[in-house]
Symmetry: C2
Subunit: 245 residues, 2 copies
Amino acid sequence: MGKIICTGLGPGDPDLMAVKSDRLIRAATHVAYFRKLGRRGQARRIVDGMLRADAVEYAMEYPVTTELPFDSPEYILALAQFYDAWADRLATLAITEDVVVLCEGDPFFYGSFMHLYTRLKGRAVVEVIPGITGMSGCWHATGMPITWGDDVLSVLMGTLPEEDLIRHMRAADALAIMKTGRNLPRVRRALAAAGRLEDAWLVERGTMPDQRMARLVDVDDKDCPYFAIVLVHGTGRRPEVGGME
Amino acid sequence: MGKIICTGLGPGDPDLMAVKSDRLIRAATHVAYFRKLGRRGQARRIVDGMLRADAVEYAMEYPVTTELPFDSPEYILALAQFYDAWADRLATLAITEDVVVLCEGDPFFYGSFMHLYTRLKGRAVVEVIPGITGMSGCWHATGMPITWGDDVLSVLMGTLPEEDLIRHMRAADALAIMKTGRNLPRVRRALAAAGRLEDAWLVERGTMPDQRMARLVDVDDKDCPYFAIVLVHGTGRRPEVGGME
């Protein structure tokens, strides 16, 4: 009787993976990961040089990415069938084998694995191992703490309506905004409306050798990949000025 | 010429520490950590059995904890002097030695180390290694993803005024509330006012052998340590109902 073990890979530097995930990945004989059709895949790239030579790999390739609107019935159906099919395949495999599923960041924090997780409930033994989030890798890249004292941190998706973004940006002390890419113009307008634009940073591939970081005001709207994260650091209460716990 | 390396220890299970932190801690000859006066200290406990026999330990004991109000001038001064003194001592030590500082969770996410970090700027080489946050360990303990799709996650401190708590609890999809303890009655009232009390979980020591988890409605106000975390899971957009990226 095997099981399915989803390992959080962390923000990108393999040295930042949990000891437990590192050990499981190096010993794995069956390894599955998501990737875009025709791409190598970031999750697979992170474990380069770690897999056993005889490991069997399962590339779970998304059936569609940007060809269809994300809220169209066709897109939703295609994705649901994709997750259904892979849940079936992994559940069958786990009858006899342990399967390690690779997930960037932390699987329970906006991870794609949860769509398999819900489908595998009651059909296979599933273990999920946390990882350092991508946003944590990005705030470490800036060399500044993201939150202090009693700061409120809000994590927002760039896909949200502009008025929602503005409202949350005004209310929170620290911000992490994901799914940027083509949403960057809206994110930028919302930050400006909330009075936070001057304090915003754009970070790509935090902790990776090719990490890139710039003040958002210095970045062109067209020069922003989907996975780049916008950060606004909290300034919090400090012992010098207002006490701490 | 030495340096100061702050290692994020993660949520508590030593097996969830980053590979890099694990390696540095096992090799360290000088190890510093915060703790309450007269306590063993959670950070030190996490690395039990990992330190070299000849490692020199520096317990940085908080001068005060609950004896003084956290916003009193005396408390603020005592803490500032405490951080000043340890920054001096670590900077002096780092002239000749590498010093590993142990920090629970992720050092740049509400970590005490940042008070040393700001004081050490320009005086010593300082490296900070991220860790899995305590809140991530707690949502993994619940066995449910904290965020899906376009969910907004807000991280709140139980020390905030009740009206602020209510406002943020109403606005966000998913919640992580830290610094609970004696603030739990206020957190509970705010969750009830925001209509989120029924969905709230209280998690202690997520990922540790003695982890404890309960629906908040089933927990007594007096039975809540300061480090316990209240979680409300997001329900998000899913492929079945509303599409995803």
